[in-house]
Every structure is written in structure tokens, then in C-alpha cells.
């Protein structure tokens, strides 16, 4: 019992922020096909992500973005689509705002010298819907 209490006390000291959570967005049936890479995904990634998550950036210029998490191509998005949903998407189970971070570069690979533009709630919802309908293969 004491251990459990200690664990709760220690958990209260956490510095971890909200954990990544899958939004559990389900693509409607039939698929409306309204959101695609061309009309949504590519612009979303360019607006909010590829300042750091780009295949053209070497590790020293990624401002902390993990290697192999590159969103300048649909293939790159597809490889970690569930992860994108968990960090930036919004849906029935979660409203994730861990990404983009607070500071961004003005040019891809540059220093963190400006506030990051942030997607609206509607854009985050559309992101998860696009991933569910157009990117993540159905179970």
C-alpha cells in the first residue's frame, strides 16, 4: 500500500506532459474520399511539419526530429501514420497537441527562432480523418 501511495506521489511530480494517444478515428463507410495527399495532407505537412521532418535534413539540422520521420512525401507519412495521429491528430478518443512544438525554424533546418504555427482543431480533426481514410490501411 505504501508503495502504491509513493508511486502516486511521484507520478504527481511528472514532467512528461500528456502522453501520445491514438485518436481512434474511424473512416466513414463508404469512404467519402474528400481528403487526399494532394488536397490536404501535403499542405498540412508543409505548413506545420517539414520544417524539421524532412528527408532532406541531416540529423544535425532536424531540431530534434527523429530520423526516418520525414513527411515531405506520402511514403514518409505512411510509414509512421499512427504516430502522427498520436501526436497531432484529433478524434473521438484524444485531442493531441504535442506537435508542432512551441518553437520552429524560419527556414527548414534553421535555428528555432519563431513561434510555431499551430493547426486549428478542425485541421487536427481532418488530419486524423485523412490518415484513417487515405493512409492507414483498414484493420
Amino acid at each position: 500500500m505504501r508503495l502504491v501511495m509513493i508511486s502516486f506521489v511521484l507520478a504527481a511530480c511528472t514532467n512528461s506532459g500528456p502522453p501520445p494517444v491514438a485518436t481512434r478515428t474511424v473512416c466513414p463507410d463508404p469512404d467519402p474520399n474528400t481528403l487526399t495527399w494532394d488536397n490536404f495532407g501535403q499542405k498540412f505537412m508543409a505548413d506545420y511539419c517539414t520544417w524539421c521532418h524532412a528527408s532532406t535534413l541531416p540529423h544535425a539540422e532536424r531540431n530534434g526530429a527523429p530520423l526516418y520521420h520525414d513527411f515531405d512525401t506520402l511514403r514518409g507519412v505512411t510509414q509512421v501514420a499512427d504516430h502522427i495521429d498520436q501526436y497531432a491528430g484529433s478524434g473521438p478518443a484524444a485531442h493531441n497537441t504535442a506537435m508542432p512544438p512551441s518553437q520552429c525554424p524560419s527556414v527548414p533546418g534553421g535555428p528555432l527562432d519563431r513561434d510555431c504555427p499551430t493547426p486549428s482543431d478542425a485541421e487536427r480533426t481532418n488530419l486524423s480523418m485523412w490518415l484513417a481514410c487515405d493512409v492507414i490501411p483498414p484493420p
Binding site: 508503495l3 509513493i6 508511486s7 511521484l10 507520478a11 511530480c13 511528472t14 514532467n15 512528461s16 506532459g17 502522453p19 501520445p20 491514438a22 540529423h59 544535425a60 539540422e61 532536424r62 531540431n63 530534434g64 526530429a65 527523429p66 530520423l67 526516418y68 520521420h69 509512421v80 499512427d82 504516430h83 498520436q86 504535442a98 528555432l112
Partner: protein, 263 residues
């Protein structure tokens, strides 16, 4: 007395996360103490400084850390607490922050002339930022058992334990490689360690050890090897350890300098 400090050495050295030099060093320094009484409490205060480079699937970088620690022992029982303050460079992003805090309790259950054994419980608090690669993001509980055999100038020790995040497992965490970057662990794993120290005179010890973790379920097998040199008096002890990441990419190389005062 040397028995009791040996316990501190073992418990610290076998922590899966900690570099553990200072705890092992306690053994050396305090083994020489001649004015300590079994029924009295003993306090220690230490600080550890470390620097490491890492290269894994997703991150390339380095970190530097400073870790103050406090320890207490009385009879068969003891406790310690430590927390790290880090500078981390990961894929070009420089961050500063706390690591996960750790508290530990331990008890000796067997104390023969040359053989000692006991149990320990380490608990880590998620004071380090998980997104920044400085913390696990969960409370971690790590019970373990340890044993040591000593016949001067040689001491051999080993431990086995279990580490688990105090949270629901399998929560769909995306694989980001070994995390946290400053001292990776699996959410659930078996831990182990083995090592030996040899006194070579003039209050100097040479030693080597290996330690690691074996994931239960998904995760990465991790192994660290290290060699160290330590020097100590009854009141002050200092050690340097050079460690290599043998498996699981915990780091490529890490250097640790630790010193402690005993009261």
C-alpha cells in the same frame, strides 16, 4: 562495517539506470573505516558527472549530466536518493532538464564473513520529460536481489531483478528506439549485473562490470560494459568509470566521474 558499505556498493552498482560508480566506490572507501559502529546511522552525499555519445536508429547526439545523491544506512537497512540534471543534444536540438528521480531502499538478509546477500527496491519518478528524451514518462519500480563474495583483495558480485513501468503496458507507444536517451529502459524487463573489483594497494581499486536488461514483451535487449578505477579514504571516495554500450544502443561511450563524502 565493510559489510554494510558493501551493501551500498552492490545496491547502487546494480541499478539498471544509474552509472553506479559512486555506490561501488562507497565500498572501497568505507571498508577502510575503523571508527564506525554498527548501531549508528551513516550518511553520505555524493555527486556524479557524466558525458556520453549515442547513435541509434532515430537519434544521434550526446549528453552531459550532473547527479547529486544522498545515502543513509543503519544496521541491515539503507536508502538513497538521486536525480540528474542534463544537457541533451539530440538530432541538433539542445535541451536542458531534469532526468527521472530515483529513490532506493535495501536490506541485507545474509551477512556471513565472505558472503553477503540482500534485496533492494528502486523506484523512479518521472521527473524527466519523456518527449525530450530525458525520462521514462512513468513511475518505474525495480525490485532486485543481489549477492557478493569477497576475499580481499577480490570482490565478486552479481544481481538479478525485475523492472516495470507502473502503468498499463502495451499502450500503443510508437517505437522511437531506446528511450529515454539519457538512460534507456524497457517498460518491462529483467535486469542483471555482474562485476568484480580488485584492491591493488594505496587505497586504489580496479574493477569491471557488465549490466543490462532483457525485455519482457516488446523492447530491446541492452548491455553495458565498463571498467573503473577508484580511490577512497574513510571520508572521501572518488571513481572514474569508462562504459561502452555493447548491445541495444544505450550509448556508444560514456565517461563517469563520481565523488562522495561519508559522515
Amino acid at each position: 562495517m565493510s559489510r554494510r558499505i558493501g551493501v551500498a556498493a552492490l545496491v547502487g552498482a546494480f541499478v539498471p539506470q544509474a552509472s553506479g560508480v559512486v555506490f561501488a566506490e562507497h565500498d572501497h572507501g568505507m571498508a577502510m573505516s575503523e571508527n564506525h559502529h554498527e548501531d549508528s546511522s551513516e550518511l553520505s552525499a555524493g555527486v556524479s558527472v557524466e558525458t556520453a555519445r549515442f547513435t541509434n536508429t532515430f537519434y544521434v547526439g550526446s549528453y552531459q549530466g550532473i547527479m547529486p545523491s544522498l545515502g543513509w544506512m543503519r544496521g541491515r537497512f539503507g536508502a538513497s536518493a538521486t536525480i540528474g540534471l542534463y544537457h541533451l543534444d539530440e538530432n541538433g536540438l539542445s535541451t536542458y532538464g531534469l532526468g527521472d528521480a530515483m529513490i532506493a531502499g535495501h536490506a541485507t538478509v545474509l551477512a556471513a564473513e565472505t558472503l553477503q546477500a540482500g534485496v533492494a527496491l528502486h523506484v523512479m519518478a518521472p521527473t524527466g520529460s519523456e518527449p525530450d528524451g530525458l525520462g521514462m514518462g512513468h513511475v518505474m519500480a525495480m525490485p532486485s536481489a543481489w549477492a557478493a563474495w569477497s576475499a580481499r583483495p577480490l570482490m565478486i558480485r552479481a544481481s538479478a531483478g525485475y523492472g516495470r513501468a507502473v502503468t498499463a503496458l502495451g499502450g500503443g507507444h510508437h517505437d522511437h528506439g531506446p528511450l529515454p536517451l539519457v538512460d534507456p529502459m524497457n517498460l518491462q524487463e529483467l535486469t542483471w549485473s555482474a562485476g568484480a573489483d580488485l584492491e591493488i594497494g594505496h587505497r586504489v581499486q580496479l574493477g569491471g562490470r557488465a549490466l543490462g536488461g532483457i525485455p519482457i514483451g516488446t523492447g530491446r535487449t541492452r548491455m553495458i560494459g565498463g571498467g573503473r578505477v577508484a580511490w577512497g579514504t574513510p571520508r572521501v571516495s572518488t571513481a572514474f568509470e569508462l562504459q561502452l554500450g555493447v548491445a541495444g544502443d544505450p550509448f556508444t561511450i560514456r565517461g563517469v566521474v563520481e565523488t562522495a563524502l561519508h559522515f
